[in-house]
Symmetry: C2
Subunit: 687 residues, 2 copies
């Protein structure tokens, strides 16, 4: 572990948990600055915050010293395996709070921390100015200053003779005293030289190095399309192949998606194979569930032969790239009874007293066709290594995005180790956590390494529910480590809202997913074709689910939402405010059936206003209240809003304006706000 070893040597000394008894345990007792209240900081620095390349990070801290001396401080950051720190001076805000900002330029794991010191020159020059103003004799004070300047000159003599000479000149002027001495003492050039070169005696490091993971941009902004390859054959009941998927690429790309996510592509078990509609008994010809992974032919590193070969798969990955899409694989760590692991590594599974292998259960439900791994196996190191090698195998085939099935039923420690070990070698890899479970478990998985996460979005249907949930996701500490990925449907989740919904419900659910968070996805073609027949009314399983059979989809159906989806994705691609989650704000409207929110970039150069009619049946209207000054609008002037969905423009005035949406026509507005509208000549259609 050369990297780790290096890190440890260069790390600031960690403070002991308890005050030491003896003075000899103190180390240096003259460090007089305090650094606390650092933000962002997740769980005392145990887990990293997340950013993507190009993101700014704003670090704040409370920094102060004893007595009246002035302090200075700086954020120090570096890639985890770098040896040199980058220093960003902090500026003081108020009440001993300091801030610095910087931009992340490289992907990979970083660390940041804070360094503070009593700033002897700043203290001295501040006091000198006060003494001069009070008309005091400053002869001795200028001598004290000269000694400081000479100390800086000596310190820089080796590295920069030029600056050392400049400092020596200043020292002479200070020693000469009088008004020349005072003027020289307060020169801003000297201030700069002294910040840079005066030894920072007894400088103090914050007692933690805080981790920061920088991902590539797709971690923050992505549009996913889930599709079953075996349902892609254009003709008859033939089993679809990777070649068929390739033929489907132009269709998916035309809708504007950039991640094509395939359910497991491995050999499917035969023992206890599930039939259509999750029947416990399968019929001859039934294709089984792709999540019943493993057969005699192979397991997680093999390809289901009916889909094609490994070469075909690599070819598909390459072709998708040409369409601007990445192929994402579904990694489900579980085995059918036929998986080679069951024979090769019986120690990775739990035995029952009757000698059988423990199948998956959630009592009283039994899933006899699935064997879970036993994460309490004696050979957990062997199991962990093998599971990690599955990711490594597919990374070698060109896959850089993984959707991980049910990570919450595997040991947390495994994920932390596995994801971080992979990202150390391949920092661009993206992991989407498919955990639909209790909130703290979902957050924990995000903290320990998952790049993106499924959410409760599918079940948040009212304006109040959506508002509360999105505030939690985007306006609390959660935004630092949890990147939500909103899905209106999945092969497992056909919500009741969609079951009873018609076209307007599909339109609004897609618009909500695509504009509330920067990552979203759909399971298609079920979604765009508005498939919503449940197996049992009130449960969330699809009738004739693709999980258990091959489906034909009439993708050219004129009722398809494909053009609408393409429009929404185009709007997302053209408006940076929709490519991030930190600019989301909800606004008041006097009708609970309407949901109004804005998204904006930090500098307000892109501000969108979404107005959604949540009622699929009736026209709804209301008055919207906008904090227009916060959105960068001059309150004295009218402003133009441009509906990017209908391409209609409106003039609005002041904080309160009227909206009305007919679901039979289009239940959503996505307004782009044109901020400075001096006169009609400023409208862009005038140009």
């Amino acid at each position: 572990m050369p990297v780790e070893a290096k890190r440890k040597r260069s790390a600031p000394k960690q403070k002991p948990d308890y005050p030491p008894d003896g003075i000899s345990d103190i180390g240096e007792g003259r460090k007089r600055t305090i650094i606390e209240g650092v933000s962002p900081e997740i769980d005392g620095g145990r887990y990293p915050i997340k950013r993507v390349v190009g993101d700014d990070i704003v670090v704040e801290a409370d920094v102060f010293g004893d007595g009246h001396d002035a302090v200075s401080c700086a954020v120090m950051y570096r890639k985890i395996d770098a040896t040199e720190w980058t220093e960003i001076p902090m500026r003081v805000l108020v009440n001993d709070r300091w801030r610095a900002e910087f931009t992340m330029t490289e992907i990979g794991r970083h660390i940041y921390t804070i360094k503070a010191w009593v700033d002897r020159f700043k203290s001295w020059s501040r006091d000198l100015a006060k003494r001069v103003e009070a008309g005091q004799d400053v002869t001795v004070d200028l001598l004290i200053g000269a000694e400081l300047v000479e100390e800086a000159a000596a310190a820089t003599a080796e590295t920069s003779a030029e600056y050392a000479a400049m400092l020596q000149q200043y020292a002479q002027k200070l020693r000469s005293g009088g008004s020349v001495g005072v003027q020289s003492a307060l020169a801003s050039e000297l201030e700069w030289l002294m910040y840079r070169y005066l030894p920072r005696r007894f400088a103090n490091w914050y007692d933690r190095q805080l981790p920061l993971v920088v991902d590539r941009e797709r971690a923050r902004f992505s549009a996913w399309y889930e599709m079953f390859p075996r349902s892609c054959a254009p003709e008859g009941n033939r089993h679809g192949t990777f070649k068929d998927v390739e033929a489907r690429l132009p269709y998916v790309a035309s809708m504007g998606f950039d991640v094509l996510y395939l359910p497991p592509i491995h050999p499917i078990g035969r023992t206890l194979r599930k039939g259509r509609n999750n029947n416990v008994a399968s019929q001859p010809g039934d294709v089984g569930s792709p999540w019943a992974i493993g057969a005699e032919e192979g397991g997680h590193k093999s390809i289901h032969s009916e889909l094609g070969t490994l070469d075909d798969f690599r070819h598909l990955v390459q072709r998708a790239k040409e369409y601007g899409m990445e192929v994402a694989l579904d990694i489900a760590f579980q085995c059918s009874p036929d998986h080679p692991y069951v024979k090769e590594h019986p120690e990775w599974f739990r035995k029952r007293p009757d000698g059988t292998i423990q199948y998956a259960e959630n009592p009283p439900k039994k899933y006899q066709d699935i064997y879970p791994f036993d994460f309490e196996t004696e050979d957990w190191p062997g199991l962990w290594k093998e599971l990690k090698s599955i990711f490594d195998f597919w990374i070698a085939q060109g896959v850089k995005i993984f959707r991980v099935d049910n990570p919450h039923t595997k040991a947390f420690g495994f994920w932390e180790w596995c994801i971080n070990a992979i990202k150390r070698e391949h920092p661009g890899v993206i992991f989407l956590s498919e955990a639909f479970t209790r909130p703290k478990v979902m957050y924990r998985l995000a903290k320990l390494g998952f790049t993106q996460s499924y959410t409760y979005f599918a079940w948040r249907s009212t304006g109040w529910d959506l508002t509360q949930y999105l505030i939690e996701l985007t306006q609390t500490e959660v935004i630092e480590f949890f990147r939500p990925n909103f899905w209106p449907n999945t092969p497992d989740i056909l919500t009741e809202q969609l079951q009873i919904g018609k076209r307007p419900t599909f339109l609004t659910r897609l618009a909500l997913a695509a504009t509330l968070t920067a990552n979203y996805g759909i399971y298609g073609p079920a979604f765009e074709l508005r498939e919503n027949r449940p197996l049992v009314r009130g449960k969330e399983e699809y009738l004739d689910s693709e999980k258990y059979e091959i489906r034909r989809w009439d993708i050219d159906n004129p009722e398809s939402l494909r053009n609408y989806i393409a429009l929404i994705n185009r709007i997302r691609n053209e408006n940076p405010a929709l490519q991030r989650n930190d600019g989301l704000r909800f606004h008041h409207v006097d009708n609970d059936q309407l949901l109004v929110y804005s998204k904006s970039t930090p500098n307000l150069d892109n501000v969108l206003l979404m107005v959604i009619n949540l009622d699929p049946n009736y026209i709804q209207s209301g008055w919207v209240d906008l904090p227009i000054e916060e959105l960068g609008i001059d309150p004295r002037l009218p402003y133009q809003i441009h509906d990017l969905v209908s391409d209609v423009r409106y003039m609005w005035n002041g904080v309160r304006n009227y909206v009305e949406l007919n679901p039979a026509v289009m239940p959503i507005h996505i307004f782009r706000i044109q901020r400075r509208t001096r006169s009609e000549r400023d409208f862009d259609y005038y140009v």
Copy 2:
């Protein structure tokens, strides 16, 4: 450091800051539980929370595991130098939040942390119940359970043959199967045995041990009286002595104070001695400031000869005890130019280029009669040890309470080391921080060890200001580490409010100090005699301040507030709600000149309601809104309130009641609320 060394060996392994690269660095990969969100926890466990003996502590945490297995967890705590942990099982609340409570019984430093484990028996019996309810065959499940019970029996065989035998019997019943097996499996006795004896495989410790300081009760509840010994002589202009202080003890005790705090009692410097009213030139006979510490006769371990001898001092300490009072000393780490340290340890002071010693300054102000210690001295270990030895010296004379002068102008690191080193040996010692400085500095001093702290109370005069400040002190994390001590006046602080105030202002300021927080103090006899003449109108220095001269006080003046103060202190002593800060709540009243708040004990057996007229000139009245159910009052019945100040009783009804206070009579009510008032026969004056 044998204690430290022992602690380190028994501490749970600390988690590395970054995920390890190699599996071999993981240790045990089968720990499947997560412990996070622990409260209370100050700055990630860097600083202790504070309690006193008899206090309860409520610990909460988020605890969960992967998958569907049940988890169990417990708070583990011990004195820092104990080897055995005490285990308090936690119970689940909601949303993976767990809680446990326990009572602190011993003073001293403690640590607490949390242990969690996948509870195999709880998981198994929960699943068994579900299977039985679904009518499934549980033969194999009972065998699995029997194996678990046998594992517990084997584990306890050595320590308790009796329990082992009981477990073996249960195992047999489980193995026998059928309804006997099921009934035995779900017996609560077995549940208890299994919680106690089934090995907690792969148990997980929270990765921090959180410190907890338990003080004696006076740390939480105390009434301080500051008095200059040299002004205690009853006759003429004689310099007061410790004997005179002894003669004054009955007077102070009659007012109900329990801490008698004396300004510095050491030899006073002669060089540049200050004259009356802080005159830079002293006249012959001027006594100087007790804070200009040190003369040829001695320094911080010597006694100003005009006060008496060390024996006299020890005698005073003993006599005070007989009156229920402790003597608190003022420790001011600074030197007059005549202090022996200046000659003996010139290296502890900063030199200026002209060879003189750097005196105290806050430019442009200069304090040439005071030399501060240089905490950046090369010999900082020597300086630290000597300063600590000053506390040790006075502890040896029987002093257990110290008021520390300006701790914020000494190095934080020194205080953390010094206070903790002293408290390890003398856990009952109390340190009051006299830091009037920026908020974060004041909080930091409290975190690193000060027992009590001066506050901004003197400058909080409006109801809004007081409410905001007290909410911060008592209803945020601050309450865990910062114990406020409210002073309406000090020798340095004669507020403008008191300068322009008359009797009602003194009455309300005392009542506020004595009822808002459990620790408070006054500088007397100036306070009870309503001394309020400033040196300069608008500044806070007293005219003819005792800091620079001997004062005579007519303590028998009939206008004195001594009886009022005695009453308030008696009310404090008789009402536990006033002896703690956690039961404070402010209530709405429709008049900003009135301030209304309640204090209550956790079980609501003592509930007081304070109504204060902040206007010293006019009668003020208003309607008070009370959350009567939160205060334990049956909303269907009238309730009695007893004004402990006037000894008048009122019947109130419902949430809204009228109050009126005439400052010319008495500007405060301290009502005790009698909760259950079934009929007039329940009134205590009926008995």
